[in-house]
Amino acid sequence: MNYLNAGYGLKSWLLTLDHKRVAWLYFISITGFFFLGGAAATLVRLELITPAGDLLSSDAYNQMFSLHGIVMVWFFLIPSIPATMGNFLLPLMLGARDMAFPRLNLMSWYVFILGGAFTLTAVIAGGIDTGWTFYTPYSTMFSNGAVLAAATGVFIVGFSSILTGINFIVTTHKMRAPGLTWFRLPLFVWAQYATSLIMVLATPVLSITLVLLGVERAFGIGIFDPALGGDPILFEHLFWFYSHPAVYIMLLPAMGVVSEVIACFAHKRIFGYKVMAFSILAIALFGFLVWGHHMFVSGQSIYAGVAFSLLSFLVSVPSALKIFNWLATLYKGHIRFDAPMLFALSFIGLFLIGGLTGVFVATLALDIQMHDTYFVVAHFHYIMVGGMVSAYMAGLHFWWPKITGRLYPEMWARVSAIIVFAGFNLTFFPQFILGWAGMPRRYHAYAEEFQLLNVFSSAGAGMLAVGYLLPLLYLLWSLRYGARAGGNPWDARGLEWTVASPPPKETFATVPRVDSEAYAYDTPQ
């Protein structure tokens, strides 16, 4: 009997305290949000095929890119890897029977759904047109959209992040199996741990900021609107103090997944384990000190800009180290190119380009030109979609046999990986050029000379849609028709591969003992 057939009926899922089932609740909900955000992006890209704003009204267009941003950031990217694979795997990798607080874990999901309900209400009850950044005083005094409902949704979902973060931190500290010392932890666990620290420390700042925003909008109390004696730059500081670290909430778990996948498919211990672990912590720490790089032309002191630029360059060093260490892991490995590895290699390539273009926008004089143009849009999509979503797909395919007990169809998965890689580059590479040439973001209509590159971009978005819909189909298909997986189909190392697929309800019958490093690929498991 495994965790999937241990109980049937809606109640056995909605009231479950099993971390593996909670992971499924998240899988299903964030997949819904992903395709909702994707639908909004599709409408945006369709509108931008022609320079004139002819498909959607300006109001509808503004609502679509706002919906896309809000849903993708808070309801897909931030929960994505931690809430699904993190929930499923953290206890397995630690040799624990569940999270430290199983009820809190289930509650996180309910809080998440409650926040989602508020945001969906906002969309239906008149739309939201502030962009995901909610800049004041537009959001507080000028927008006619349902700002309060949307902000309430984001406020609520923040608590879901905080609760998940606390749970992961306590679980990692207190529930490691005997012998599983900190430097024997898989890098996936290090990444979840660092991410949880950011969630717990940064999210409250967002919550406070949204409360202040709500107070100003609802009661006209001047906090951010300068006409009421407030300061709109203060809002930008507070917003980015959360939202820049939030990028690392999305990225660090992705780095954890990629480390697992590369070690497995190169069949070799990860190169420079300690450097990799410490660089995760360094990124989490430095990530808190760079928020001002979103504000180089905002009117903040230009010398503050210089300091934030320097810090932003420094945070790139540990990221560069991680790329070099992944490459060195391949050296003298035994490399297989199954779908998870293709997605992980995509991650390396796209994250590299995303990271290097991040260095462009961290360069002060260039950011004057690139700020709020498509260059920035392309840059952060290379990090969040090219990087984060590729890693999510890598992890999803890698652990799919463990989670479901079934193999996915390998050929279709490789096809999907290649379509996603090609479609992604076709969508977003032209946007670098558009931004450099000066096309501002969030433009419903644009100058005619920008059309060709926008047509490329929209064509690429069509490919991306196919690349993301395919896995939805073949993974669902595999639930019923996929071949049985067996406990360890990839010949991988790690405690999660020592149990059956799918794991039993009580994952470990006896508490495992750990007496070796992570990634012991030179010894048979």
Partner: protein, 326 residues
């Protein structure tokens, strides 16, 4: 605006038409080359390792000190990365300060233009008093200094061909300086999302040869310079009743004030720049001058942004030589 023929161009080399745009382009292309080399290196290594060490290949995997960790290798690739980053940081920072905090041009010939952004248009006023909407005429080679503010939400003044951008904030003066080097018409965009018709908040900077620009100026009506209008408004709003020479009310004297440090009742000092003057009219209790009672009434919502800029220009003109202040 682009001709129909330009419609399908690739835009790798956008027009470059200001005194700083060439320097920005040099930095951009230097980084493209450096980063391009890194991308090529990483992809080559991926490809070579991927082929050579594919599962089942005959390549030797015998143990080497490079297999699992190597401190000198880690240090060896960190240092060049760090050095390159510091190099580009310094280059970018120096140029940024030069663009956003520029010195007054050597010949002192800077044209001061007032800019007001509002949903969804740009309003300009020239030093001669000439007004324009969404189009700004300037002379090639002459430095232009913008004093900008917004009537409602945050906007951003962006001319890609000049490689300049600065956010335009409500209740706040920001400034931006540029010197066009080419004659032509260049797109002006609002770059900060500002609501419904954000993408309609576009215009043009028209750069003319100096003689044509003089003709253009001569052809336009001149309703009065900002200073002259400001002087009239100064009386009209009753400012002169307290701040005038014959006043019986004790209020700070405004002659010679601009650009000087002002001691405050609450302790500390502020510089009497344009922002200070504006705040003193709209939020008079924000900075009370040392030795004075906070008796001035607020003129918030009573004076338009245009008139505030004129009043500021008038008070500024009461100080003989113009210091290098915003």
């Amino acid at each position: 605006m682009a001709d129909a023929d330009d419609r399908w161009q690739l835009l790798l080399f956008p027009e470059s038409a200001s005194s700083v745009s060439g320097q920005v382009d040099t930095l951009f292309w230097a980084m493209v080359v450096a980063c391009g080399l890194v991308v090529a290196l990483v992809f080559t290594v991926l490809l070579v390792f991927g082929i050579r060490y594919r599962r089942g290949s005959p390549a030797s995997r015998r143990g080497s000190p490079l297999l699992y960790h190597n401190r000198w290798l880690e240090i060896g690739w960190s240092i060049p990365v760090l050095a390159a980053f510091l190099f580009f940081f310094a280059w970018g920072a120096l140029l940024y300060v030069e663009i956003l905090d520029p010195p007054t041009p050597e010949d002192g010939d800077a044209r001061r233009v007032n800019v007001i952004g509002k949903q969804w248009m740009w309003k300009f006023q020239h030093p001669e008093g000439i007004r324009e909407i969404n189009t700004l005429h300037v002379a090639v080679g002459q430095t232009v200094r913008l004093r900008m503010t917004s009537q409602d939400v945050i906007h951003s003044f962006f001319v890609p061909a000049f490689r300049i951008k600065q956010d335009v904030l409500p209740q706040t003066y920001t400034r931006l300086q540029f010197a066009p080097t080419k004659v032509g018409r260049f797109d002006l965009y609002c770059a900060e999302y500002c609501g419904l018709s954000h993408s309609g908040m576009v215009g043009e900077v028209v750069v003319m040869p100096p003689s044509e620009f003089q003709d253009w100026l001569a052809r336009r009506d001149r309703p009065g310079t900002p200073q002259q209008d400001g002087e009239r408004l100064f009386r009209q709003y009753g400012c002169s009743g307290c701040h005038g020479e014959a006043s019986s009310v004790r209020a700070p004297d405004l002659a010679g004030l601009y650009g000087k440090p002002v001691p405050l009742e609450s302790g500390g000092t502020v510089t009497a720049d344009a922002q200070y003057l504006r705040d003193s009219i709209v939020f008079p209790s924000k900075h009370v001058v040392a030795g004075y009672e906070p008796i001035m009434p607020s003129f918030k919502d009573q004076i338009s942004e245009e008139d505030l800029l004129k009043l500021t220009a008038y008070i500024q003109s009461l100080t003989p030589e113009e210091p290098d202040a915003p």
